[in-house]
């Protein structure tokens, strides 16, 4: 019995392990796979080219992509093609990260956010504007109007945003 009290006494002196979530949050591990983020280049253009390889790689069939063609008046991404529709069904997603592996432009990244809750099935489908990261400071939002011929590559080389 004394031994038991000793354990209790000891724990009273220890620092508490519980935190006041959601006010307090623990940092996630470096390889944590949370909610997806669609990345942008520094100038604000989207990295996603709408190739749908993420959707093809997805074992849970959680991703739906529909592509359209960029024009210099309405440019979303540096190449010829961008995702006009990009949806992830978070209820289906198993956070395996295959989409990240499949992405040829490193556009989709599993981020830190694990706070996914919804009250209906349709709310579980995250459209493109919820997945896209905010426009960087020096960038401008998409679609952008760019000078003609500034982007003539099918797929950017990803060395800088003007590829």
């Amino acid at each position: 019995m004394l031994q038991g009290f000793m354990t209790t006494l000891k724990s009273i002196l220890e620092k508490p392990v519980t935190i006041q979530y959601p006010e307090q949050k623990r940092p996630v591990r470096s390889r944590f796979k949370g909610r997806h983020v669609l990345k942008r280049y520094d100038n604000g253009l989207e990295k996603c080219i709408g190739c749908a390889l993420c959707a093809a790689a997805c074992p849970a069939d959680a991703i739906f992509v529909e592509a359209s063609e960029n024009s210099d008046e309405n440019r979303y991404s540096p190449g010829e093609r961008y995702a006009s529709t990009y949806e992830i069904n978070m209820m289906r997603c198993i956070f395996c990260g295959f989409c990240e592996d499949a992405c040829p432009t490193e556009a989709i990244v599993l981020g830190d956010n694990y706070e996914l809750s919804f009250t209906s099935r349709t709310d579980a489908i995250y459209p493109k504007d919820m997945l896209l990261e905010p426009v960087p400071e020096d960038g401008s939002p998409t679609p952008q109007k760019v000078p003609a011929g500034a982007f003539d590559r099918a797929i950017p080389l990803m060395q800088d945003a003007t590829d």
Binding site: F64, S68, G79, E80
Partner: protein, 830 residues
């Protein structure tokens, strides 16, 4: 004729093939894949890409004795060639040994792929071909994974070159195999694509104005082994693996090409499955592996927002949406009232099942069934049409084909292609027309007749009519033909003219006994996909449609738009007591109707069509039908049910069974029979993309010919109708002759926005001498007073046309269906 057979060994297989076969084909036949880029089984081999290099050995022959030298064990001694040979250009020879699995061959393939990829952009993620790309597949299968070439030295070329409004070229992706150039030159003889420059600067260009001016242009995207040629229609539409293929039949003309609708959900259409593209489906007896651009690009109509999805009934003079229940009750009551006064006017777009149920419904009331067409003669194609075993692809040396009054290139492009190829194989082609057509170039005898005198020309061919000497030589050429197929159309003719023509063509066939056996008979170049099916079921055009409609108590119009076609019919229809229209869209007739019933489009339902060659073929549902529409056969059955008539309306297959029981021509046929697939050559399909292109293989059935109505030697039932001659002399007025253009202003074409530039306009073409006589000049706007209505046209000079008449396309907004005398005057400029 027996072909010399050659036996050779390919790896561990022994294969016997006809002499002259290329090694690559012989290997394919035993399932050995020799990778190719530039070779295509339908094209001449050129050996440009070097991907098909294999080791070939031949038996050693002793020069002195001429005998094959044997090894110690008694097998022939094989001398391997010192270098690799291209399997696509090397014909097989007896005793040959082909090795495709050696390290030497593997190394060659690796290096060829590496070389081809030197300047390939590798933009597979955004390429429309990615996923069904021979280069991608063969690189994965035979490539090395790394390249010794310097990345920064890759060529950079234009990535988005519109060759025409339909096809885009990506010059970086092009591997210069020349399949597209050879297809355009050899297969369809539209030499509008060519190579330009040499070596690394070599590029594909179009030499036509407007760009890539060919009605077969879409096929180049199928055979392109990379994503260099893609269609504008499908650009970035979907990835190939995301789409579900649904087998169907093209309903744009009577050829009945086998196609596949590739279907995928689309966010733009609020998540509904939509048709993303149309691809050919192999059927070597119908369309081989090709389709025309009309079939490929006219598929947007069924997703149009203009589709009717609710029955409409005229209440207080306005068409008001009503429930199906109410609509059917009303229609049934009216049909009952009408009794014999029921006139059912059906269009050739309806399926066999629709036509059958409509016919049964109408007959039960004692009404009349009419076919809405400007072309007669079906009573002859029904009796003398093609039979089981017929295949235009098997016509060749010793056979003859007669094409009369038809511009096949515009009316039925695939028939044009197959007739042309038969002529090139040695068949005697006789083309008769009042004006020059694209088929003349391949004809042994291209004969002209006076506008309207088509029937007389055929009579001349038989020796029953006085004709120029050229007819005499053509007649002699025809005399010895083993097989004879006669195509007749409505170029420059109307209902009476075509009926007379068909009867004379029938006489021609009966005179020489060319009917009742395979590859012999009469083919009508109809306007719609299932006109032949309608004729088979006893539908026929009315001699006096105006009178019939005027007298009708109830006019039931299905897939027919008489009001939109002709002002006279509009007036006549106003005389009918009650008008029921079954349509997809609110056509001019539907607007005037008392009751409009919305129907399902072909991709939304099951059914079967009878092609002009009398081949019944099945189509399958591809996309779900919009809520509220029903197939025509179901509507007829539901009306029948309310009239105490037991008709099948649950499934198209069941209707077809009844049809088979009731019509001798369909006897013994069933959906199972229609969906039997046969082995085809060349081998195409998903696993053989590199070989045959992205054409789909046929697992859903080749269709079946209808039963012969007449056996060889039997005389056909006499057709009583007296033959009126058609208007040929317009007196002081201008004789205007109708002809059919592929891209007309038909009700389905207008939804394909890409085709707008190709759609025919109201252009009056005539010889300059005739034009001068009527005071017309090139490019002027003129007003035609035709059949009591005014129409404005643009005048175009054409030296090739015979003087004395003018030609105007059908379905360009001018109500012209038969030759007509027109008062013409030049319009004042505003």
């Amino acid at each position: 004729m027996t072909m010399k057979m050659v036996t050779l060994r390919i790896d561990e297989h022994t294969v016997e093939v006809p002499a002259g076969t290329r090694v690559v084909d012989a290997a394919k036949k035993v399932g050995v894949d020799i990778p190719v880029f530039c070779y295509h089984p339908k094209l001449e081999s050129v050996g440009m890409c070097r991907m098909c290099l294999v080791e070939i050995g031949r038996p050693v022959v002793d020069r002195a004795s001429g005998k094959v030298v044997l090894e110690a064990d008694g097998s022939p001694k094989i001398q391997m060639a010192p270098k690799l040979e291209t399997a696509c250009t090397t014909p097989v020879s007896d005793g040959m040994l082909v090795v495709t699995t050696s390290e030497k061959v593997a190394a060659a393939r690796r290096e060829v792929v590496e070389f081809i990829l030197t300047s390939h952009p590798l933009d597979c993620p955004i390429c429309d071909k990615g996923g069904e790309c021979p280069l991608q597949n063969l690189t994965m299968a035979y490539g090395s994974g790394t390249s010794r070439f310097i990345f920064d030295e890759k060529m950079r070329s234009a990535k988005h070159v519109p060759l025409g409004e339909l096809i885009y070229l990506d010059r970086e992706r092009c591997i210069q195999c020349g399949r597209c150039v050879r297809f355009q030159h050899e297969v369809v003889d539209d030499p509008v694509l060519d190579f330009y420059q040499r070596g690394r600067a070599l590029e594909i260009i179009t030499r036509s104005e407007p760009g890539f001016d060919s009605v077969f242009s879409g096929n180049t995207t199928d055979i392109c082994p990379v994503g260099a040629l893609t269609t504008a229609d499908f650009r970035f539409g979907a990835r190939p693996w995301e789409m579900k293929p649904a087998a169907s039949i093209c309903a744009q003309c009577p050829v009945g090409c086998n196609i596949v609708y590739d279907v995928r959900r689309e966010a733009k259409s609020s998540g509904k499955p939509v048709i993303k593209r149309v691809m050919p489906r192999q059927n070597e007896s119908v369309n081989e592996v090709w389709i025309c651009d009309k079939g490929r690009f006219v598929h947007h109509y069924n997703e149009s927002a203009e589709r009717l999805t609710q029955p409409l009934m005229r209440v207080d003079g306005e068409l008001t949406p009503v429930s199906w229940q109410q609509a059917l009750e009303t229609a049934a009551a009216k049909l009952k009232e009408a009794g014999k006064g029921l006139v059912t006017l059906a269009g050739g777009r309806l399926s066999n099942e629709d036509l059958f149920n409509l016919r049964e419904l109408t007959r039960a009331q004692g009404g009349t069934t009419l076919l809405h067409t400007h072309m007669g003669g079906g009573e002859w194609t029904r009796q003398l049409g093609l039979n089981q075993g017929s295949n235009l692809g098997s016509l060749g040396n010793g056979d003859a084909i007669v094409v009369i009054a038809s511009d096949l290139h515009q009316e039925a492009p695939l028939w044009w292609l197959r007739v042309k190829q038969a002529a090139q194989r040695g068949a005697t082609l006789i083309v008769l027309n009042a004006r020059p057509t694209r088929l003349d170039a391949y004809a042994a005898h291209a004969l002209r007749y006076q506008p309207g005198e088509a029937a007389q020309a055929v009579a001349g061919l038989m020796g029953n009519h006085k004709t120029p000497a050229a007819f005499q030589t053509a007649r002699e050429a025809l005399a010895g033909a083993a097989n004879l197929v006669v195509f007749f159309g409505s170029d420059g003719l109307g209902l009476t003219g075509t009926r007379a023509l068909a009867q004379t063509c029938a006489d021609l066939l009966m005179q020489s006994g060319h009917y009742g056996r395979p590859n012999n008979g009469l083919v009508g170049v109809w306007q719609h996909s299932n006109d032949q099916g309608a004729w088979e079921m006893g539908y026929a055009p009315a001699a006096d449609l105006v009178g019939s409609l005027k007298k009708a108590k109830v006019a039931l119009l299905a897939a027919a738009d008489p009001v939109g076609d002709e002002p006279a019919l509009a007036k006549a229809l106003a005389g009918a007591d009650f008008v029921i229209v079954q349509e997809m869209f609110l056509t001019a007739s539907a607007e005037k109707a008392d009751l409009v019933l919305p129907v399902a489009a072909i991709p939304e339902r099951e059914g079967s069509l009878t092609s002009g060659e009398r081949r019944a073929q099945r189509f399958y549902p591809a996309v779900p039908a919009p809520d509220g529409v029903r197939p025509d056969y179901t509507i007829a059955a539901q009306l029948g049910q309310r009239l105490g008539l037991e008709l099948e309306g649950r499934a198209a297959g069941l209707v077809f069974l009844r049809l088979a029981q009731s019509e001798p021509a369909f006897a013994g046929l069933s959906y199972q029979a229609l969906s039997t697939a046969e082995e085809q050559w060349p081998i195409v399909g998903r696993r053989d993309l590199y070989f045959g292109g992205t054409t789909y293989d046929n697992n859903q059935g080749m269709g079946t010919h209808l039963q012969p109505v007449l056996k060889a030697g039997e005389r056909p039932a006499a057709v009583a109708a007296a033959l009126d001659t058609e208007l040929m002399d317009a007196g002081d007025n201008l004789l205007v002759l109708p002809h059919t253009r592929l891209f007309d202003q038909g009700s389905l074409v207008r939804f394909s926005r890409l085709l707008v530039e190709r759609v025919a306009t109201a252009e009056l073409r005539l010889n300059p001498a005739t034009a001068k006589h009527f005071g017309l000049a090139e490019g002027v706007a003129a007003s035609l007073n035709l059949n009591g209505a005014d129409a404005s046209v643009i005048v175009r000079m054409d030296d090739a046309l015979p003087p004395g008449a003018a030609w105007l396309p059908r379905r360009v907004g001018v109500p012209l269906w038969a030759p007509a005398a027109a008062q013409v005057k030049v319009m004042e400029r505003d």
